[in-house]
Symmetry: none
DNA sequence: CCTTGTCGTATTGTCTGACATTATGATAAA
DNA sequence: TTTATCATAATGTCAGACAATACGACAAGG
């Protein structure tokens, strides 16, 4: 089946024009492009068509419109991984696939981090300190049976590691996953009597990282996620029984 | 420096509204959303504001507006690659992050697959056959110096594995990445004289999977991706020298 | 000299109403 | 049964208006 023929719309043509202006270097990072009215006049079209094109570029992080000032070409572009995010949003994926996927992201981050530490044990000292601190708080929360804090601490633990490795795409996706999983996991924690011993579990993860051996780290994170998955599975089972 | 305060614009709010409508499942893939005028009335705003929001979603491949028919929710494999294309114009950093991210997805799939085979060596026999077949074709393509085929075979090799493991999120994301990376890698292959010995490389990957040991698989895939990254880096270097 | 307040201006943000274009289905004609 | 015509509804586009606002100039006051 051939792709649907999409006749070139005015907005599409404007986008190409603007794209060319940037691609050819006519306007560079930080430059101010002509006003909407000016572009509309130059292209012989309505201002709203120009606006729609500019709006899209705004969303893509290519242009930035500032009220009363004008529209500028962005510099270091943080191209939106929104497109990737939407990909997740649009699917009616199973909870387990989300957890699996989250595991894939973390697996990679853990291994990368362990590897870096293996190469040079002096790096990431600060992070280690913060992680230890976090685990300490977990212990307190466990004692106080403060489950809400526990979930937050759990999330923070993983988030800190993700950020340290610093792939912005991975981070952005993780953030998206969070909004899906966070509530789910929180609910799970609140609904059951027992919950995993988080502090100990995370301590194991930390040791694995410190070992500087990516295989050890991989083993630990895989184990961790298998436990999480089991826990969620169990919780859902109980919910069904009600 | 604190983030710039960006006051919520009407269009931004509309986008959130629409996003919610989809996220909450009110409108699913293939559904027709209300007309622009209807949405404008419902939200108590002008039609042009609704249009701008819808336009952006159109570009991202989330919605599809058809003249005289209405606006529909896309299914997720239409997520626009064009949006990602823009990042080519931008820094090289993003490119490496994408490659890294792709590596993260594959790492997980390889390990999962190897693990499954380790647990039960009789599974996935059919896939193994197909992979061997693919490598054979690579050999021929290498002899014929048919680089275009080589890129396609490379992609297929990885795609087959991803599909076998069968996490739909991972697959969907990989598909999105493909449209973006495919061209980039193809360009790289075409522009340099030498290229890696793909058949041998992939044979190593296959053996690692067959071993049924996920650590072995992890090592192999990491090595593979380090090579790929180096190759791209090198290519870009050469391009800069021109 | 420095701060503060006021005002004009330029530009984006938004609304409205109009008309153009076109895909679809109903109806009529052959 | 096929073809032609037409009405309808929706998006596509345009023009004009006004609102909101950031910024610079300039004046007032200390």
């Amino acid at each position: 089946m051939p792709d649907r023929i999409r006749q070139q719309t005015v907005v599409g043509q404007v986008m190409e024009k603007i794209r060319d202006l940037i691609a050819t270097g006519k306007y560079k990072s930080g430059d101010k492009i002509p006003t909407e009215q000016e572009l509309a006049d130059r292209f012989g079209i309505g201002r709203s068509s120009v606006r729609e094109a500019i709006k899209i570029f705004n969303y893509l992080g290519v242009l930035e419109s500032r009220t009363a000032r004008g529209t500028f070409v962005c510099d270091r572009n943080n191209i939106s991984s929104e497109a990737l995010t939407w990909s997740i949003l649009l699917g009616d994926d199973e909870l387990f696939e989300l957890i699996e996927f989250r595991g894939a992201l973390e697996l990679w981050c853990f291994m990368a981090l362990a590897r870096q530490i293996g190469d040079n044990p002096d790096t990431h000292k600060k992070l280690m300190k913060k992680l230890e601190n976090n685990i300490e708080k977990m212990r307190k929360a466990e004692k106080a049976e403060d489950r809400s804090s526990l979930v937050r601490l759990d999330y923070n633990f993983h988030k800190m590691i993700l950020e340290e490795v610093g792939n912005s795409i991975v981070n952005s996706l993780y953030e998206t996953l969070k909004s899906f999983l966070y509530e789910e996991i929180k609910k799970a924690h609140l609904s059951v009597d027992a919950f995993p011993r988080q502090a100990d579990n995370h301590l194991r993860l930390l040791s694995a990282i410190k070992s500087g051996n990516s295989e050890t780290a991989a083993g630990a994170i895989k184990h961790h996620f298998r436990e999480t998955a089991d826990f969620v599975r169990e919780t859902m089972q109980r919910e069904k029984e009600l």
